[in-house]
């Protein structure tokens, strides 16, 4: 029961999958890896790719690798699943320390600072691709994707791979029953929440506060998330701005909505919060742009999607969000022939056809303009309008502070946030105290991280 309930979620979000799936996945991956290496031609240069994808997403990675291997004869790519995002990063680190690193390592958004700040662990994707003689144009990528895995000069260090955005899913039935329109702003939400509640629905639920209501609260409202240019300029004395009055206000509102029955919160787990939406008990759910494919199978009612709401009072327009998901990093210490193969694979990945295939197979957004146009021409979004919302949201105007963030030990800082946010809704702490605790412990971790670079 548990397995079948959680499976579709893991398939189509960028969230790490549940333990149960990981196990199933590990077995199938191992089997596949064996098949791949067995079929790769002996004369070809072998390269490996470690990733943290499960379920259907993991299968798609194997399909892409196979397409790459069939498209040329010089290189043979072997994908290996290393479990969740965190496990993939930890395996990559351990392997690097013993000189056994793969050619390509997938690293998730929160781990970006860890690998990018370890200068010498990777070869910048942009350099690698250019050195191999391919064209590389940053402007080919859609607005929101361009800077997240780049250095402060805009050079691509990681190759954006699977990208997603937090968007709002709408229970059409609930809104119709309550006789209201989907809100564009949180102000509008406050107006319709009582009507949704009256109609017998929980008005709002979300699935990951750290990503949807903290990191992307800052990006959506174009607010500075951390000092030192969101951490891009330096690791020294970087501090986090969670105590920003607007951010505190957002959580105070969430808490008030929770107390009034306008906001349902079921802990830090992704699927515990998604479930009531699927069961038609919730009117609005903030999920990942990649969630729609899974929802099509599990939702018991018709649904649609729209942008993540924002506060008109904080920013009258609302800009694009950070990209979630992960990027591919070319590890250093590899032979020229292997690096050439890695470059050739990165180049292959950005081709519109492959991007479109990946976008449609997984639900992650297409990261190049060309792939987006191709999918549009094909009429894909007429068929599946929810698939377009994430891309459109990432194409909203850019601001000064929504390019990305680069914070060391960020996975641990997220853990602190998860703890304090849970305490807010369990009534164990006030919003203000929670934010101060996060800032204090978060800044300590950032200072610690600065020492590791020493």
């Amino acid at each position: 029961m548990v397995v079948s309930r959680t499976l579709p979620i893991g398939l189509l979000t960028d969230q790490p999958v549940g333990r149960d799936q990981v196990m199933i996945k590990k077995f199938s991956m191992a089997a596949l890896a064996v098949t791949f290496s067995a079929t790769s031609s002996l004369a070809a240069t072998n390269i490996t790719w470690w990733h943290g994808m499960g379920g259907r997403n993991g299968e798609v990675i194997n399909e892409i690798s196979q397409k790459f291997n069939e498209s040329q004869t010089e290189c043979a790519l072997t994908p290996v699943s290393k479990g969740t995002y965190e496990e993939a990063l930890a395996s990559g680190i351990a392997a690097f320390r013993s000189g056994e690193q793969p050619n390509i390592l997938q690293v998730f958004d929160a781990g970006a600072a860890t690998i990018i700040n370890a200068k010498g662990a990777t070869v910048a994707a942009e350099d690698l691709i250019k050195d191999a003689g391919y064209d590389f144009n940053r402007d080919d990528f859609i607005e929101g994707v361009r800077y997240f895995y780049a250095d402060s000069d805009g050079k691509f260090v990681g190759m954006p791979f699977n990208s997603s955005a937090p968007i709002m899913y709408i229970n059409d039935e609930a809104l119709k029953k309550a006789g209201v329109e989907a809100p564009k702003t949180w102000e509008e939400f406050e107006e319709i929440a009582p009507k949704l509640k009256e109609a017998g629905y929980i008005p709002l639920v979300q699935s990951q506060l750290t990503w949807e209501f903290t990191e992307n609260f800052f990006s959506r409202h174009n607010l500075q998330f951390a000092s030192n240019n969101n951490g891009y300029d330096s690791v020294i004395d970087t501090t986090i701005n969670v105590t920003d009055p607007n951010h505190v206000m957002m959580y105070q509102k969430l808490k008030d909505w929770h107390d009034n029955g306008y906001f349902g919160y079921y802990g830090a787990g992704w699927s515990d919060n998604q479930k009531p939406f699927e069961e038609n008990k919730v009117a609005l759910w903030i999920g990942s742009s990649g969630s729609f494919g899974g929802l099509q199978k599990t939702a018991q009612m018709p649904f649609s999607a729209t942008f993540l709401p924002y506060w008109k009072s904080v920013n009258p327009e609302g800009v694009h969000t950070f990209i979630g998901g992960a990027a591919l990093f070319a590890m250093s210490g590899k032979s020229e022939a292997e690096n050439k193969c890695t470059a050739s694979f990165f180049h292959f990945l950005t081709s519109p056809e492959i991007q479109k295939f990946y976008h449609q197979a997984t639900g992650y957004v297409a990261i190049t303009e060309a792939a987006y146009e191709l999918a549009k021409e094909e009429g894909y979004y007429k068929e599946k309008p929810a698939a377009e919302v994430g891309i459109q949201q990432l194409q909203l105007p850019s601001g000064e502070w929504n390019k990305g963030y680069r914070l060391g030990f960020y996975p641990q800082i997220r853990t602190i946030m998860e703890r304090e946010y849970n305490r807010i809704f369990a009534g164990e702490t006030s919003v203000k105290d929670a934010m101060e605790t996060i800032k204090k412990e978060g800044d300590e971790l950032l200072a610690r991280f600065a020492k590791t670079a020493g």
Partner: protein, 319 residues
């Protein structure tokens, strides 16, 4: 080097067969022909211990004095500051406190429930093997699977235990409320360990001589008193062995249960020290702090084991 039979102290009922004749029979000792040979026999085991225990331990101790870049590029010697940071952190002390409470409760309940069931199952005459098999079979379930089953029972949306709790006005929210999650974790951890204790207590009970029981039955009418004054002291070696096993289980082997129950995201839910080591080291890539924590844990276990052997074992009489 004389060959000495393995000490039967821990499992006396398993070794009731006649003792091997090779043990001290005057000067007829069995000698190895070469003094090197015993070391050769020991070598594989020593190699395993060295590679998988001593070497990593030394690594842990040395990296606990550094703050290190995860990829191994830069490291700063910080002396004891990883230890002081950890020990002065209120959060760490909270986790330590929970670990103590968790270990005490899990050990207490799994031992006492295991003993109770064993005593009752021992007294059953008809269909006893059916009861025993049912009670033992739970032990065959792997920890993550047990945790998954447990999680389903305590699921916020569909959990039957949550339903039952709500009849008594307890709005149980496992995953959100610290206390509720702690309760669920302890229940699952105990449930998983009871069959193990049951097996050992049952065989322990069966090794209590019938003559002793009969003699006790003549002297004393109260069944409970007979159990308390005669049976229990005879079970003491078993109980002591189980005490150590259960404490180690609660400290370390519950990792799988905790990991599954907090769904990878501990948030404000209770975790034990060993989970914290994993969280900081493997998820946070903070090797220095994680190493310091594992050294602390190593010392705690070391002290605990010495304490158990020196003070608790003294009071036990091995038959």
């Amino acid at each position: 080097m004389a060959y000495v039979a393995p000490s039967p102290r821990f499992l006396p009922w398993l070794t009731r067969k006649p003792r091997p004749k090779v043990v001290a029979e005057g000067d007829k000792r069995v000698q190895f022909s070469s003094p090197v040979l015993p070391y050769l026999f020991l070598a594989p085991q020593l190699a395993v211990i060295f590679i998988f225990f001593y070497w990593p331990s030394v690594q842990a101790v040395s990296s606990s004095f550094y703050i290190e870049d995860p990829f191994g590029f830069g490291s700063t010697f910080v002396g004891m500051s990883n230890y002081t940071d950890v020990l002065t952190s209120a959060q760490y002390r909270g986790i330590a406190l929970f670990t103590v409470v968790f270990t005490a409760l899990v050990t207490l309940f799994s031992l006492s429930i295991g003993l109770l069931l064993a005593v009752k199952a021992d007294a059953v005459i008809r269909g006893s093997s059916a009861y025993k098999t049912m009670l033992i079979s739970v032990y065959a379930i792997a920890a993550p699977v047990a945790a998954l089953i447990g999680m389903m029972f305590f699921d916020q949306h569909i959990g039957p235990f949550v339903e039952v709790a709500s009849w008594f006005g307890w709005d149980m929210r496992v995953g959100l409320s610290y206390f509720d999650t702690a309760f669920a974790m302890i229940v699952v951890a105990v449930w998983k360990q009871v069959p193990y204790n049951f097996i050992f207590f049952l065989s322990g009970l069966q090794s209590v001589p019938v003559s002793v029981r009969e003699a006790a039955a003549i002297d004393c009418k109260s069944g409970f008193r007979r159990f308390w004054t005669v049976t229990l002291p005879l079970l003491a070696p078993t109980a002591f062995f189980l005490l150590i096993i259960n404490v180690t289980y609660s400290l370390f082997d519950t990792f799988g249960i905790i990991d599954v129950m907090v769904k990878d995201k501990a948030a404000n839910n209770p975790i034990t020290l060993v989970y914290k080591v994993y969280e900081d080291g493997f998820r946070g890539n903070d090797l220095g702090s994680s190493s310091a924590q594992s050294v602390i844990l190593m010392i705690v276990v070391f002290v605990l084991t010495i304490f158990q052997f020196r003070f608790v074992e003294r009071r036990i009489h091995y038959t």
